[in-house]
Subunit: 414 residues, 2 copies
């Protein structure tokens, strides 16, 4: 099966946003064995959009459009796609109610007229529910072709694609794909790939695809087979070998499990409580942990002590330590960690202090220098790390490294 | 002048890399008044690439291809483009020498055969020097059309584009584009657009383009003119009118200024210090503020009190308040705010407590219910908000809302 992607939006043609949807959709489609030969991007312009759809209909089985489903005048993907397929539009009751409900939920009294535009549906179309916005997705079948319309915002497009589109496409693709994700943390991407180069070169079925994330590398092992059981059998030995090679750098083989979830899981298992003490990451570490639903039983508190005063007042870091060694030092990281443990009486504590830049670097303490303190039930260690990139990147990498370091110390409890 | 972009590379169609080149080139072209109507991406496949080039030649004046200029067998952009324009290839002496020099520079003795492929140039083509790699760029003019080939790696493409392509295009396109960004916060996208529908319907030059962000709507006002001064003149009255209609919901008209930067700027201007007390956002608010470089002079501390115990211990929230009204309540938000002010002695405090979901909602207190407390130099208010979406989305929207509410209270100081 061949799919073609059409991204709609003048903001893409003006370069105001990077087209991450195309990369996401392509990757997901490839993963379920659907080939993508063309991606194209057009603006909010009726005839150019229509031309793009007509071209796509000639060369692909499935056309996936994203963007231009909103309530405003320049959102014309739905009308144009319907026109290209020769379908009329009608006002859909159910969609109207969903929009009404949505506005009730967010306590907005006056629903502006243009919102009803989103309840106009092409005849015979299947509606794909949108749990994260008002614009429903659309799926139309016509003369052996399928045209799918998805909302542009990634946080609406992704859940809709995974919930409604993937199952639909898999039905029409008889073979099943079975995959496992081997998530590696603490090893650089190129190094990790070198460690399994022989496996990747030899791959046919299952395939091994690397995904570089900030501070992590994920390897998706995918097998195509007649049924799930056969797929499992094919994937199993490869996953086993990857785990053997990467050792405890592998924190999960479950697609849905994140590093922070893994840490929270281990904490719960041992009935431990945790606190965080952050300087340069400024709450990103706490925020990641708290994104794990139900974390409250293990996460006691997060202290964001960016200023030196706060380090003293909130964590009891000694003035002379800050004076002698500086805020970014092994000693300060250690006192932040111990202060957090003592004052907030936790079993586990992680402290972070570093220079995220762009300013503040010196020859002795360059931008990217970060100290991470980990305390686990009496065991403790302070790690010196050197990261690169923008301020944002350095902070994100630091958070991942901190989570991974505490995870590794927690493993010693088993 | 109309340009079209063709990105070449199977890795793009498999979603292994995000197409940042398309965004970069589009933005740069827009900035010099060249319109982009289509972007397309094709794999390393000769006939599909040729078809894409032929289509582009019919609808654009300038076709810019990126990628597929390298030494390997699947790099066939140059050959295919030359074929599409009916041009022969010949071995270019100068390019051969450049490649030889390049390998000397990087101290590589043996130049593999396939590298000479990069010295094959279409007849009559202009060579664009590549200072950051071996593959030269190519510029071909044929029957009033220009076809430009650039290397795929951004660190090679960008310098080449700025050094060779922009000057070439500007010669043939004297017009300039001038634009301002009106950033609106606290008004929903569809409502905001309804407020200026008449202006958007009437737009020709300048144009008004809306961009929805989480919790914000940005409007770019763009004018095409003979020079920057004339562009400014055209944009000015429109921006003025947008500001009049949206009032203090407009927090900036500068493209580069973010909401958190604006808040920090106001705090610095008045010499005020700030603390944050977060429950459901778990440090995201502090983290956003701390991403503003040099925030340390205003940001004192961030308290992440997710658990009730932490709310009591760290912020002095009373047990009976939590018992009687619950952790997610006007009263708790207020005590968190006041506790933060008193204990950490700040001029400004923002507290956040809410139900981010997916669990924990009740009919009285549904998922998405958030209380935001703002304290500014004695003035205080607690806002009840209702947000929707995933846990992540609700938390992100909450952070933006909190920043905007404190910004608005800070405006009263002027």
């Amino acid at each position: 099966m061949v799919a073609e992607l059409i991204s709609v939006g003048t903001e893409l043609l003006m370069g105001n946003i990077v087209n991450t949807n195309a990369a996401y959709l392509s990757k997901e489609l490839t993963a379920i064995g659907v080939s993508v030969y063309y991606q194209s991007t057009v603006g909010d312009n009726k005839e150019r959009l229509k031309a793009a759809i007509e071209t796509a209909l000639q060369r692909a089985d499935v056309i996936i459009l994203s963007g231009g489903l909103g309530p405003t005048a320049d959102d014309l993907t739905k009308e144009t796609a319907a026109e290209a397929l020769g379908k009329k539009m009608h006002l859909d009751e159910r969609s109207m109610n969903r929009i009404r409900e949505y506005f009730q939920r967010i306590h907005r009294k006056n629903i502006t007229e243009n919102n009803w535009k989103q309840a106009m549906i092409p005849e015979g179309a299947t509606i794909l529910d949108n749990h994260n916005g008002t614009a429903p997705g659309i799926l139309m079948e016509e003369k052996g072709k399928t045209v799918i319309l998805l909302p542009g915002p990634p946080n609406e497009l992704k859940p809709m694609f995974e919930e409604s589109v993937i199952p639909y496409l898999q039905k029409s693709n008889p073979k099943v794909l079975y995959s496992k994700m081997v998530k590696v943390c603490g090893i650089g991407e190129s190094h990790a790939e070198t460690m399994i180069k022989d496996l990747m070169d030899a791959q046919t079925n299952p395939t091994i695809a690397p995904y570089a994330k900030t501070g992590e590398v994920h390897f998706r092992v995918t097998a195509m087979a007649d049924n799930e059981k056969a797929g499992k059998e094919l994937v199993k030995p490869v996953v086993k070998e990857l785990k053997r090679r990467f050792g405890d750098a592998v924190y999960t083989t479950k697609e849905e499990v994140t590093l922070e979830e893994k840490v929270v899981k281990i904490l719960k298992k041992h009935g431990l409580t945790m606190v965080t003490a952050e300087s340069c990451t400024g709450g990103m570490l706490a925020s990641k942990l708290i994104n794990v639903s139900g974390v409250s039983e293990v996460f006691k508190a997060g202290l964001v002590t960016y200023a030196n005063e706060a380090k003293k007042q909130i964590l009891g870091v000694r003035g002379k330590t800050l004076k002698k060694y500086g805020a970014v030092s092994q000693e300060t990281a250690e006192e932040m960690m111990l202060g957090a443990v003592e004052r907030y009486d936790a079993d586990v504590a992680v402290s972070v202090t570093g220079i995220a830049g762009p300013d503040g670097g010196t020859p002795e303490k360059p931008v990217g220098l970060v100290y991470i303190g980990c305390y686990v039930c009496g065991e403790m260690a302070v790690y010196e790390c050197h990261f690169t990139g923008t301020r944002e990147k350095i902070r994100e990498t630091t958070v991942i490294a901190a989570l991974n370091l505490v995870r590794k110390m927690l493993l010693n409890l088993d």
